[in-house]
Symmetry: C2
Subunit: 359 residues, 2 copies
């Protein structure tokens, strides 16, 4: 395995859309959302072990999740889990991990990846990533994974490409013509219908020099992290530098501006596991078009439902169509799939009542 | 309080319609189904304390529920809880308790009542029972409580009476013209429409001599219990006598045949709490026509539902109409109200799967 291959796994998100299983205190990257015995972080880590030496994988998480990553992934070296002192979106997060990698290996080629996405064909994923790593060794390019869009989702970045423009003899690798982060709905529909667009999966591959150049050019305040943070930098100093950084995503801060962004078409099913709906769309359904996680779920006349319950609970469901049924040890949610956006309201209503009861 | 007043509470049923809260091991009479802090047995016992001296109340339950009644009702004397060695329906059950009462007080006037019904006006109930007890002191009558029917339920006994035929100066007390246990549906509809019928609530009032006479005449094999069982009869001997009794209900065995049955109209809401539906019909609904038990239930767009969950569980329900949502610590059921009859199937499916897993 190429010793220059590195991976930055971003695991600081507070995703609590999957309440009651995920909460701000225990967000979705740390949860076994597919019921396959692995958290999303664990699956992500294992996936990147196929392309990088294990000790070259750096997990960036938030100070409030101290210990969680180490607990889920054993035998990590000290520098492999780093803690952001505050939320500043993804650009500072990547810079922080890149600063560490810079001290370890200035020849690094780096994959940047969220910790909480799902990939449904690991072999094809590995091939795509290895090919991208090979290309960025000799090209000053930012390669991003492009996913064939399934619907006019307005939460994603859309990459326009020309499929006849084949690079490096790889008919999946193309120049990016335009990049549009989170388009309005009508525009997303046009993008989808044109057939010339891919979703940005938020997984980038670039060499360390390309990364540095991009930060210094487009985000000079964030680039300061690269120069000042070392393996031994005291936490207070990281805190100080972080507080001077603007909170900005790598997508807005770099991808939208850079002229060396390239896209590699992904030939595997992918999900950002951002909503119950995206989870439902991306996984296999049973004969009643249900997605069921939980060893003790009994369904009768249940269709098009997504069910995720701990095996310690016996749950009998009768006569439900298009519902989410989810729970942890203490809490159960039954909610129409079309209403999942209200989960935050439910969660806050519970909080309010609990606070009242405690008074 | 009249020392001759006695009560027999029948608490041996295996009612598990309210699964998962009630099971054969812990049937509904021992459960706080209304979430008011009392089991149905506890409410029943408290209700009869208004008409009988406490020590005159005898609870008949089954050998498999040993200890449960004593646990729920403190300070009972030994003879106040008796255990049937086997299931023989209600006629032997009443005879067993009557045999005990016969040794305690041959002048007894006896109320016979199920342990698992609900009465929604205790004062009116007390008045009705006291009036009935007064009448049977001087009349060789069997008085049964009659409930104004709400629907053509085919599970009940129907009492035809003539409301112009007023007895003892009480315009609620009438001779019974006919008695029909569990009529076919069309007949139940006719009964309902005629306005001349009352439901038999299964609560009888009679003197001990009247009871003895009825048993000796209509159920001589069961009457043997009256002659042979004493306060000190060894359990094996009770077992022997029981095994010779036919299993028959007091309704079929005596009420349908006796010519001295009278009915007293009940002026209170009553429920035999036999199904979620009967429970739903009998209790007050909130503004969305929901019946909710459980301190931590949160409902959104939920209508016409019956919800019964332990307070240790937080449950969020969205977009449900006409459902039962019920649970205990380990189990949750979500089921359309119209499908509650399938609960036994659900329970047995779970049993089958658990047995498979254990193998």
């Amino acid at each position: 395995m190429d010793k220059n291959n590195y991976c930055i796994i971003m695991a600081g998100g507070t995703g609590s859309r999957f309440w009651p299983m995920s909460t701000v205190e225990h967000p979705k990257q740390f949860i076994d959302i597919f019921g396959n015995g692995e958290s999303l972080l664990q699956s992500t880590f294992r996936r990147f072990e196929q392309v990088c030496p294990r000790e070259n994988i750096i997990i960036v998480t938030n100070n409030i999740y101290r210990g969680l990553a180490e607990q889920q992934i054993g035998g990590l070296r000290d520098y492999q889990v780093i803690y952001e002192p505050m939320r500043r979106n993804t650009a500072p997060c990547v810079a922080y991990a890149a600063a560490i990698i810079r001290r370890l290996n200035p020849q690094a080629n780096i994959i940047v990846s969220p910790s909480d996405h799902a990939i449904f064909d690991n072999d094809e994923f590995t091939r795509t990533i290895l090919e991208s790593l090979r290309v960025v060794q000799t090209h000053d390019w930012i390669i991003t994974l492009g996913i064939k869009p399934l619907n006019p989702n307005t939460k994603y970045g859309y990459i326009q490409y020309n499929e006849n423009n084949v690079l490096e003899g790889n008919n999946k690798l193309h120049e990016v013509i335009t990049y549009t982060e989170k388009p309005p709905y009508d525009m997303a529909v046009q993008f989808l219908n044109s057939g010339d667009f891919l979703w940005n999966a938020g997984i980038f591959i670039w060499s360390l020099p390309t990364l540095e150049k991009a930060y210094r050019r487009y985000l000079p305040d964030v680039a300061a992290i690269l120069d000042t943070v070392d393996l031994d930098t005291p936490y207070e100093d990281v805190e100080k530098i972080y507080s001077t950084c603007q909170p900005i995503s790598a997508d807005y801060g770099i991808m939208e501006k850079a002229d060396n962004v390239h896209v590699i078409e992904a030939d595997f099913r992918w999900s950002d596991v951002e909503t119950w709906q995206s989870l439902y769309e991306s996984v296999e359904k049973d004969e009643n078009r249900n997605v069921v996680v939980g060893d003790n779920v009994f369904t009768y006349d249940v269709k098009n439902c997504i069910i995720n319950l701990p095996s310690s609970k016996t749950v009998v469901l009768q006569g439900l169509e298009d519902y989410i049924v989810a729970g942890d040890e203490e809490t159960v949610l039954v909610c129409k799939r079309s209403e999942e956006h209200r989960v935050f309201k439910f969660e806050s209503d519970i909080e309010v009542r609990k606070n009242k009861q405690e008074k």
